[in-house]
């Protein structure tokens, strides 16, 4: 908008016949300057063309019978064969349910914790205490999935895992958590809460610091308690941030942390743990069914996109901000 306005202003200022030539030479000058900028832009252009748009083009193998030797272009077209095979297979329903359940459970259960932590941190008056707690709280962000999964396995180990030692101390039988399908989802969700709360609290804390202090001062003059201020100032002030985070998360519901699933699941828990990405990895990559894997991946991407658009639309209808 601003650019077109500026252009209009320029045209009004120079209404004479020289305008065209003047603008031509201005463009030429711009292009000369732009040339240098464009040279700087080339690596970026190549990167996005090759590694971001290249794979999108490669997706056409989902409609072909891809063969390493004939290549992407020359492999024969097979239409929706791979999609039909996937939708008809018994795996489809299981994967769909697992992915959606795991993603939604994580999103919903983990949602309140960073908000709670941020609000509580905001109430702390001792700045060194606040800083220390906050620093400790986001440490898990820096740990790899492998390390976190390893900790989970250690803690839940039936032989000498800490949890089982506590269970046994109370006189119960040790439990094999990681091969019990009923326990997979709770374990996954709890570990996600552990590893993401501190990181997301940073975002909410920043949003809190954007709330006008005059609101709090006015409330104090009116004799509001701290609880009331949290309820009527801090939480409403965080609402836009909550909405944005929810929308962004909806888009990733389908893309649950498959790396962690991959590390934690086993043949005993496939029925609840297997998600689209792990399935693509096993069936597509390990068993070299590239076309089939690409079809499943494409379906996953389309569902993710749809969810994101739906969430964005819903948020806008509810009067909030969308992400675009």
């Amino acid at each position: 908008m601003r650019n077109t306005n500026a252009e209009a202003v320029r045209q009004i200022r120079q209404p004479d016949a020289r305008t065209f030539r003047a603008r031509m030479s201005a463009t030429a000058k711009h292009l000369a300057r732009d040339k240098q900028l464009f040279v700087l832009f080339i690596p970026c252009l190549i990167f996005y063309a090759m590694f971001r748009y290249g794979p999108l083009y490669g997706l056409i193998i989902a409609f072909k019978d891809y063969n390493v030797f004939t290549g992407i272009l020359d492999s024969p077209w097979v239409g929706f064969k791979h999609f039909e095979r996937f939708f008809a297979s018994p795996d489809f329903f299981v994967l769909f349910r697992n992915t959606l359940l795991l993603g939604l459970l994580t999103m919903i259960c983990a949602f309140p914790f960073p908000i709670l932590l941020a609000v509580m941190l905001n109430e702390v008056r001792l700045s060194w205490f606040k800083r220390t707690i906050q620093t400790a709280s986001y440490l898990p962000t820096f740990l790899s999935v492998v390390i976190i999964s390893s900790m989970i396995i250690d803690f839940l180990s039936p032989n000498n895992g800490l949890i089982n030692r506590v269970i046994q101390a109370f006189g119960f039988q040790a439990k094999y958590f990681l091969i019990d399908p009923d326990w997979f989802r709770p374990i996954y969700v709890m570990s996600e809460i552990w590893s993401t709360t501190g990181y997301e609290a940073i975002i909410y804390l920043a949003a809190i610091s954007g709330i006008s202090p005059t609101l709090y001062e006015a409330a104090k003059v009116d004799g509001a308690s701290r609880m009331r201020m949290i309820r009527h100032i801090t939480l409403p002030g965080l609402l836009p941030t909550m909405l944005i985070i929810l929308i962004l998360k909806t888009g990733s519901v389908i893309r649950v942390g498959y790396e962690k699933v991959l590390l934690l699941y086993n043949s005993m828990t496939y029925e609840v743990a297997d998600v689209f990405s792990t399935y693509v990895y096993r069936k597509g990559l390990l068993e070299s069914n590239y076309s089939f894997g690409a079809a499943v991946g494409m379906f996953e991407a389309v569902v993710a996109m749809t969810l994101l658009l739906a969430a964005n639309y819903a948020s806008k209808r509810l009067g909030g901000n969308g992400i675009w």
Binding site: P55, Y290, G293
Partner: protein, 287 residues
Amino acid sequence: MVGQRKWSPFGILNGLVLIAVAVATLYPILYITAVSLSDTASVTQGKVFLWPKGFNLSAYAQVLTDNKIPRAYLNTIYYTSLGTFLNLLFTAIAAYPLSQPQFFGRKWWMLAIVVTMFLQPGIIPNFLIVQKLGLLDTVWALVLPNAIWTFELIILKSFYESMSKAIREAALIDGASEYRILFNIVIPLAKPALASIGLFYFVGHWNSFFIPMIYLNDQTMHPLQVVLRGMLIFSEGNTASLVDAAALAPQALKNATIVLSMIPVLMIYPFAQKYFAKGVTLGSEKG
């Protein structure tokens, strides 16, 4: 909130809960450190809770003389330093033209770039591109396909945009080329932002396991996280080759490796707080 009492019941309760949160966050890390420093008997009998029992460093000695782990450690250092350097270089250069309002087609370029955050074709097409380019089993497979993270690019672009235009104008009048302006003025001034996104890149490379796992078949090239994953998943098969007949609790060995792999990250992270928080919040504003 001026004039509030420091030690209200509310404040004390709040503080206690927060301490509990911090303990819950830190405890698993302290625990695995304690296990890694304990002797076999104490670990297998489940005596370790917080402090090492039967303190010894044999697990660390095992790790250091192991035939896989030291090499994997060096691999990780190599991939992380090369990767982070290239990430920063690519991002710092790419963000510059995009931050210039007069850059030809800027709006369309930005749109084309942002769209890729939402259009992710999945594992297989990415794998095929890397395979086609002949990058499998080379360090470039880890580095090039993720040379620019779109999110960090946007962060840096908005940082460039927020920088003073006056310096650039002055340099232009002095006849400096765009290259000189970028490398001699803009990048040095953008150090705080570069440190912030560099931190994300660093941690991303250091911790990545899925990408090296699918792109590197050659075991001698595996980074630490992939080796760790091997110890995790194939505990039985793997420990036989690592330890002579259960002389050592495999847990201690595994945890010693974990502790060693965490050290660099844990060392930089308290100092990185300032940059880290800035990166997260900048990202969330622009996301």
